[in-house]
């Protein structure tokens, strides 16, 4: 069974979006210097922020570091939040930026596993293609496939296809061009599809060509 969030976090639960009016009130109070309101904002949004960070980094420890940094940046720049977007969307962008920085820094220290072109070797039996093909649940296979993606590709597909951020915002937060973001998105989708639905023989598809 594929676990979703590592050993240190609990299984996924159904998501209930925070009340927008209550959030707006907390944001206004926090912007006015009410630290208790900021703490309430953290309490109300931390699980969702953690979820995004976990999906972007692929592991629990890194996700917790990214969450801490994201809230620090949010605290520092709260005065510049004008409410054009939802607070959570604004926080997603900060989290994405932090995760990108974090993964980039980590790559400079660890040259393994982070290259776009790296071939991932399935060392554990549950990641074997045949075993994976037997997995009963598409969602579990997808989450496993996401974790196996190179971080650069994973970031784009998570932000676009899970969190519905526009290409422009994704490119800005990851420090890449929009066209690069689109190329990464399509590569990520293809890799996910190939991992979720393991490769078929050409002979199985005589119509191909």
């Amino acid at each position: 069974m594929v676990t979703d969030a590592g050993t240190s976090s609990r299984p996924p639960r159904s998501y209930r979006r925070p009340d927008p009016e209550a959030m707006a009130d907390l944001v206004a109070r926090a912007q006015a210097g009410d630290d208790r309101a900021f703490e309430d904002l953290v309490t109300a949004t931390h699980a969702e922020t953690y979820t995004l960070a976990r999906r972007l980094t692929g592991n629990d420890d890194d996700a917790r570091d990214v969450v801490q940094e994201a809230y620090l940046r949010a605290y520092r720049s709260l005065g510049r939040f004008r409410g054009e977007a939802r607070f959570t969307t604004w926080l997603y962008r900060i989290t994405a930026n932090c995760a990108s920085t974090y993964v980039g820094r980590r790559r400079r220290h660890r040259h393994d596993e982070l290259d776009d072109e790296l071939v991932v070797v399935d060392a554990s039996p549950e990641l074997d293609p045949a075993a994976r093909a037997d997995a009963s649940d598409l969602r579990d296979r997808l989450v496993a496939a996401l974790d196996e993606l190179p971080p650069k590709l994973r970031a784009v597909v998570v932000l676009r296809d899970v969190y519905d951020l526009p290409h422009e915002a994704i490119a800005a937060e990851l420090g890449i061009s929009e066209s690069a973001a689109k190329v990464r998105l399509h590569r990520a989708r293809r890799k996910l599809k190939d991992r979720v639905f393991p490769t078929r023989d050409e002979d199985d598809h005589p119509g191909g060509g």
Partner: protein, 124 residues
């Protein structure tokens, strides 16, 4: 010019959300190609599954909120938060003290009742 399936792999990934990504020749190829049609179906299934992840939230292990607030405090950004954290620590330490006192009280009662039980036969 004939279109080859391998030329379309990335375009099919894009076409999962943007059908206009397929030009006329690519569209004509896909309409007659079972392999590419199957790829399109798989892309759409993956996309639906990705979108469904948005409705999930992963519950972090306890302590993350305190870690966040401590991190902000350590960054020197938020002095007032110290009082909040102190409040949490006071509550935590107070809880520990109360639990310790309760345990000590319970122990004293047990010891007292045992010693009284030992004394009773002598008194008789």
């Amino acid at each position: 010019m004939a279109v080859d399936c391998n030329e379309l792999v990335d375009i099919l990934a894009e076409a999962a959300t943007d059908p206009a990504a397929l030009d006329r020749s690519a569209r004509r190829h896909v309409e007659g190609c079972l392999r590419c049609q199957a790829d399109m179906v798989q892309h759409r299934r993956v996309l639906r599954a990705l979108r469904s992840l948005r409705t999930e939230v992963l519950e972090p292990a306890p302590g993350l909120v305190t870690e966040v607030l401590t991190h902000i405090e350590e960054a020197g950004e938020r002095h007032a938060i110290r009082s909040l954290l102190t409040g949490r620590r006071v509550a935590y330490i107070g809880g520990l003290a109360a639990a310790t006192a309760a345990a000590a009280g319970a122990g004293a009662i047990v010891i007292a009742s045992r010693s009284r039980a030992r004394r009773l036969p002598l008194a008789g």
